[in-house]
Structures are given as structure tokens and as C-alpha cells.
């Protein structure tokens, strides 16, 4: 059977499964809609958290980034897993004991302030929209490449599915579809990785395989071989990095604190019955996440070797189908600088500007014409990082069903994260904004109706973002983590661990942390992008890592303001006492 037919079958089956689960787990009350009634088993919550957390970025992009950046890719591996240690030890159990529905709920009650609640609502909505736009790009890539449908139609189909189970099922529907989506995505990620690991090293465990010897070259370790190949082609060796130590440190810290402060992840811990369930379900979540995260660097190393071995020096006229199909999608480009008809893969960027700008028509060897100027380097090949996970099974020549499976897995990753984000957005609007601020007298049924309307609205806006992607999507992803690190993480942490922490300090801390982080990113990404390099950065910290500094500023300002302003009222201090013990 063809890849396309198999992909239709796999995606169709998985979508039918998600819809079936959604019908079975409809929500009837606001508590079910917001936190699945608080009855989710910790193991199920762990799987749901993993699917919620692992987005199109984790599934599709991360291994690709590591494949091209090598050692520098570790900032994502450590940052996006280490955050769970912070979450489990510092936040999850206490927020579960607090037993409300949202992060703005905690901020508003703990800091006895509607202003703080509103700042939190704005942050939740901003962070979530930033994030959801990226998911829609993932959905679009999968649909356009594998089903050869228009990207827009793909986005509409994806949105319709999410709409169905998020609006109908709320958190209850989302939780159980996320469990199913975790199973689909991890299976889809591991199967090709295991195949390729066996082919290259004979080791069925990819996380061990990339530290093993190559098949047929006993005594040669895979990573040494890869270091040799990359050095030979004038690239940075795979196990060496380009980023400065200080930047790696700050980016990793920002990703960790940002992970712990992301509202759609935190809210998952409101859904389990007990405090000790919240603790252990963070552990399960990290096990499920680690399965993919320890495999990703192996996939990256395998992919880099396979690309070098299969593509470099190949004549374009005999290029395999995957190469020309991705070229047709605009995600691979080849500029024959020396007119020898052979694809030359070397260090450095191939094109100037970096991304290919295609013109109508073809060149003499049949490749698509480019408007880009040749760059200084000898490299002739442009490969978009986002395609590595999807293309790798084809590059390695795996059977068609594996390729189709990966497409279904990518969709599961993107849709599960999108649904979680849409839910926190709708909850923020119906619960925090309408019920807690604007219309405190609405009934349970009216609140539920508002939640559904808000979810429907959020789905539609997210769909529009997918169809008309703003050019700055990739640019603003750094915002989500930086802002979460600079705003929620310190405010929640101090709210639990300091009884003296008060309203004035929280607002001052959030405002300074956010303003600083926001301005720094806006300055380097939008106002003065040409100066976005180490020479101009503050202490050599890139915009990606500036959230850490924003967080430190938030902490410093909070601790100072707290000492010169009155302590919080007695009932708030009692609240803090109460959330510190499970019973």
C-alpha cells in the first residue's frame, strides 16, 4: 500500500479513537470541565501531562534541531525535563492542596488582589496563544506533506477535531484523549528509532545505540564516526557546541523555570484526587516524557549520519523520492554552486538569505529554481530542521507503514498540546475573568456555557493563526518560556514558601520581571534584529535565555518590596500554612 493511503488509514483510525473517547467522557459540570472532576488516576494524569507537554516542537522539531546543532541541543533536553523536578518538588503538591481550578485563581487568592488576578489572566492567554500557533504549523506540515492536501484544509480538519472534544468534553474529554494520544505518539516515535538503531548499531535501544559501535565497523563508535564525518565536511563536530557556557546556562535555566510555570502543565495537577497523587503523577509524567527525550538525541545522531551518508555527493538526477517531495514542499532546497550536478553537503549556511526563496521553473538538473544568492560556504544543501523526524524513516528506507505511523504521531503531539492550551485559555476567560471579576453572580450552567463559548472562540482564533501564520511565530516562542519563567514561577514559588510574601511584592515583581524580559526580547527580535548577537547581548545572554535574568530580577524586587510593605492579612497566612501540609 502507498504511504498516502496508509497515512489516511492511520490518521483516520486515531481520529476516530479520539472522537469516541470524547463522546464517552462528556463534561456535565464546571468542575468536570475545568479539572475533570478531580478524579483522574495519577498514572493517567502522568500520560496526559506528557502528551499535553510534548508538542509539535518536541515531536517534530527537537530531534531535528539536535541533529544540526549537536551538543548545543542539550539545552532543550535538560531544560524541558529538569523543569519537572522543580514542578514536582516546589509547586505541584501545594497547588493541588490549594484545590482551585486555575493559576490565576491561585495568584488572585494568595495575593488577595483582582489586579494580580488580571495580570495572571493576561499572561496565561498570551503564553497559550504563542504556543498554540506553533502547534498549528506542525499540523499543517504533516497534512501538506503526507496527505498532499492544502495546508489550510489540514488545519481546518485538525481544528474541527480539537473543537469537538475540547468544547464537548472540557478537561475530562481532553484528559482521556491525551492518554490515547500519548500512546500513539510514543509508539510512533520509538518504532522508527528502534528500527534505525538496529540498522546502524544492532542495539534495539536507541538511547544506548548511539553510544554503541557501528554495524560492520567493529571498534568504531557511532558518535566518533559522526564527529569524524562532520569535521571532514567542515562542520562543527557533533559532540562539540558553538554556544557560550553562560548562554547555555541561562537558556537551560529559563526553559526549566518556564516549564514549571506553564499554566497548561500546572493545571493538570489540579485533576488528581490527592496531594500525594500530584507528587507521584509528576514522576510518571517525567518517565513518559523521558522515554521520548532520551530517544531524541539518538534519533538526531542517526539522522545526521544517514543524511551525510545518503545525500552528500549524490547526483540530483538519482535523488530519492523523499528528497524531491520535500523539495516540492519547500523544506529542502539545493543550489548547485559548482555546476557538477552533485549535491554537496558541507558546513555553513547554503543560501543567502538563510531560508530558500523559490522561483517558478526548474534548473537544468531538474531542481527548483532559487532566488537566493549563493553564500560564502561550499554547502549547497538547505534542509529545514522541522522535517527531520518526518523524513528520517524515508531516508533510512523503512517500510511505508512506519512512515504513516510517524505522521499520525506528529498529529497526536500537536493536537494534544493544542487542546490543553485551548482549555486553559477558555478557563481563564469563563472562570477567572467572567465568574471571578466581571459577573460573579452567574450560575454554574451559565459559567459552563461561557467556558464552551470561550473554547470555541479560542479554537477558531488558533485555526486562523494556523492558516495565516504570522511571520513572527518562531520568533515569539522564546516569549512563552521567558515570560512564564519571569512571571508565574517566582510568584507561585514565593507564594508557597514565604508567608511574608504580599500583594505589593507580587505585583512589583511580576511587572518588573515581565517588562524587563518582554523589552529585551522585543528589542532584539523586532526593533534591532541586526544587533542580535553575542557582542550586543547583556552579559552574553541571548533573548532565548533572558527569562532567567527576568526571573532573578522578579525575585530580587519581590524580596525587597516585601520587606518595606505590610504583611499579608492573617487569613492569607493561614492559607499558606494550610497548603503546606497534605491534611
Amino acid at each position: 500500500m502507498s504511504v498516502q493511503l496508509l497515512t489516511y488509514i492511520f490518521i483516520g483510525l486515531s481520529f476516530a479513537l479520539y472522537i469516541g473517547i470524547a463522546i464517552w467522557s462528556r463534561s456535565g459540570t464546571t468542575k468536570e470541565f475545568y479539572v475533570a472532576g478531580g478524579h483522574v488516576h495519577p498514572l493517567a494524569n502522568g500520560a496526559a501531562t506528557a502528551a499535553d507537554w510534548m508538542s509539535a516542537a518536541s515531536f517534530l522539531s527537537m530531534a531535528g534541531i539536535i541533529a544540526f546543532e549537536g551538543a548545543d541541543g542539550a539545552r532543550y533536553l535538560m531544560g524541558w525535563t529538569g523543569g519537572y523536578v522543580l514542578l514536582a518538588l516546589l509547586l505541584a503538591p501545594y497547588l493541588r492542596k490549594f484545590a482551585k481550578y486555575t493559576v490565576p485563581d491561585f495568584v488572585g487568592d494568595r495575593y488577595y488582589s483582582q489586579a494580580a488576578r488580571l495580570v495572571a489572566v493576561v499572561c496565561v492567554i498570551f503564553i497559550s496563544f504563542t504556543y498554540v500557533a506553533g502547534q498549528m504549523r506542525g499540523v499543517g506540515i504533516v497534512f501538506s506533506r503526507f496527505l498532499e492536501v492544502d495546508i489550510n484544509l489540514g488545519v481546518v480538519i485538525g481544528m474541527a477535531i480539537v473543537f469537538f472534544y475540547a468544547v464537548l468534553g472540557g478537561m475530562k474529554g481532553i484528559t482521556y484523549t491525551q492518554v490515547a494520544q500519548y500512546c500513539v505518539l510514543i509508539f510512533a516515535y520509538l518504532v522508527p528509532a528502534i528500527f534505525i538503531s538496529l540498522m546502524l548499531t544492532g542495539n534495539p535501544f536507541p538511547m544506548l545505540g548511539f553510544g554503541s559501535e557501528m554495524v560492520g565497523e567493529s571498534g568504531t563508535y557511532l558518535l566518533d564516526k559522526l564527529d569524524g564525518l562532520t569535521a571532514e565536511l567542515g562542520m562543527t563536530a557533533f559532540t562539540e557546541g558553538n554556544k557560550s557556557t553562560v548562554d547555555m546556562f541561562f537558556i537551560t535555566a529559563a526553559l526549566m523555570a518556564g516549564t514549571a510555570g506553564l499554566p497548561h502543565v500546572i493545571v493538570r495537577f489540579f485533576t488528581v484526587p490527592k496531594v500525594r497523587d500530584a507528587r507521584v503523577s509528576a514522576g510518571y509524567a517525567l518517565v513518559f516524557i523521558a522515554l521520548l527525550y532520551t530517544t531524541a538525541p539518538a534519533v538526531a545522531a542517526f539522522a545526521r549520519i544517514n543524511i551525510i551518508n545518503n545525500v552528500d555527493g549524490m547526483h540530483y538526477s538519482v535523488a530519492p523520492e523523499w528528497f524531491t517531495k520535500w523539495e516540492d514542499s519547500g523544506l529542502i532546497a539545493w543550489l548547485d554552486k559548482n555546476d557538477d550536478g552533485k549535491i554537496q553537503y558541507r558546513g555553513g549556511a547554503a543560501l543567502d538569505p538563510l531560508k530558500p526563496v523559490f522561483e517558478d521553473g526548474r534548473e537544468s538538473d531538474g531542481q527548483r529554481s532559487l532566488a537566493n544568492a549563493p553564500s560564502e560556504s561550499e554547502n549547497e544543501l538547505y534542509i529545514d530542521r522541522d522535517i527531520i523526524v518526518l523524513a528520517h524513516p524515508e531516508i533510512a528506507g523503512l517500510p511505508n507503514w512506519v512512515i504513516a505511523l510517524v505522521a499520525a504521531g506528529g498529529l497526536a503531539a500537536a493536537l494534544s498540546t493544542a487542546a490543553g492550551l485551548l482549555l486553559v485559555m477558555s478557563t481563564s476567560i469563563s472562570h477567572d475573568l467572567m465568574k471571578k471579576c466581571l459577573m460573579p453572580n452567574i450560575s454554574e450552567r451559565q459559567e459552563l456555557l461561557f467556558a464552551r463559548i470561550a473554547a470555541a472562540l479560542a479554537v477558531s482564533i488558533a485555526g486562523l493563526l494556523g492558516i495565516y501564520p504570522p511571520g513572527f511565530v518562531a520568533q515569539v516562542v522564546a516569549f512563552a518560556f521567558g515570560l512564564a519563567a519571569a512571571s508565574f514561577f517566582p510568584v507561585i514559588l514565593l507564594g508557597i514558601f514565604s508567608k511574608r510574601m504580599n500583594r505589593e511584592a507580587a505585583i512589583a515583581g511580576m511587572v518588573t520581571g515581565l517588562t524587563f524580559t518582554f523589552s529585551y526580547i522585543v528589542y532584539f527580535k523586532f526593533i534591532s534584529p541586526e544587533t542580535n548577537n553575542a557582542a550586543h547581548w547583556l552579559f552574553g545572554i541571548s533573548p532565548e535565555g533572558i527569562g532567567t535574568l527576568g526571573m532573578l530580577i522578579n525575585f530580587a524586587v519581590s524580596l525587597f518590596v516585601m520587606r518595606i510593605t505590610p504583611p499579608p492579612p492573617q487569613e492569607v497566612q493561614d492559607l499558606v500554612e494550610r497548603i503546606r501540609v497534605p491534611r
Binding site: 539536535i66 551538543a71 541541543g73 542539550a74 533536553l77 535538560m78 525535563t81 529538569g82 519537572y84 523536578v85 514536582a88 518538588l89 516546589l90 503538591p93 538511547m207 548511539f210 553510544g211 554503541s212 559501535e213 563508535y221 557511532l222 558518535l223 566518533d224 559532540t239 557556557t245 547555555m248 546556562f249 537551560t252 535555566a253 526549566m256 490527592k274 496531594v275 500525594r276 507528587r279 507521584v280 509528576a282 514522576g283 517525567l286 518517565v287 523521558a290 527525550y293 532520551t294 538525541p297 500554612e577 503546606r580 501540609v581 497534605p582 491534611r583
Partner: protein
């Protein structure tokens, strides 16, 4: 303040903080020290087919993170029982 109940809760909280700080020290050591600050130094040692620093940053730290959370769960469940603050199943 001063009652036995309060003292117990204080002791529970102190034990919790102490455990947390120890685990976070390990967390910081494997990721920020082994995986970033000392990576070049550790890379001169081999660990099977990996350079040691590279292994910590791409594999080892993640395994340790998982272990840390389960140690925390196990220790905290014991503390909950010891100080009588465990949530009962039928409450």
C-alpha cells in the same frame, strides 16, 4: 503557636525543606555542573561510546531527574505518615 500540633507541623515543614534542598542540589549538579559548566572537563573521559560530559547533558541528567522525583515521592509519603498528615482514603 506553641501547641504540639503546631510544633509537629513546623518539624514536618523543616524536614520537607531539607529533603527538597538536598534533591535540588543533586538536580543542579547533574544538569548545570556536569552538563554545562564542567562539560569540557568531563568530555576528556569516556563513558562507553560517549564523552562523559556529552552523556550527562543528553542522557544522564534526564535519568537522574526521574530518580529524584521518585525519591521525593517515597520520602514525602514516609514523612506524611510519620507526622500524621497523610490524607485518608475515605475522607
Amino acid at each position: 503557636m506553641g501547641s504540639k500540633m503546631d510544633n509537629d507541623k513546623q518539624a514536618y515543614w523543616r524536614a520537607n525543606l531539607w529533603l527538597m534542598l538536598m534533591l535540588l542540589a543533586v538536580w543542579f549538579f547533574v544538569s548545570f555542573v556536569c552538563g554545562i559548566l564542567a562539560i569540557d572537563y568531563l568530555n576528556q573521559f569516556r563513558f562507553f561510546g560517549y564523552k562523559l560530559g556529552f552523556w550527562f547533558s543528553q542522557q544522564g541528567s534526564i535519568y537522574v531527574f526521574v530518580i529524584l522525583i521518585f525519591v521525593y515521592v517515597w520520602k514525602m509519603n514516609r514523612l506524611d505518615k510519620q507526622y500524621g498528615v497523610r490524607e485518608d482514603d475515605d475522607v
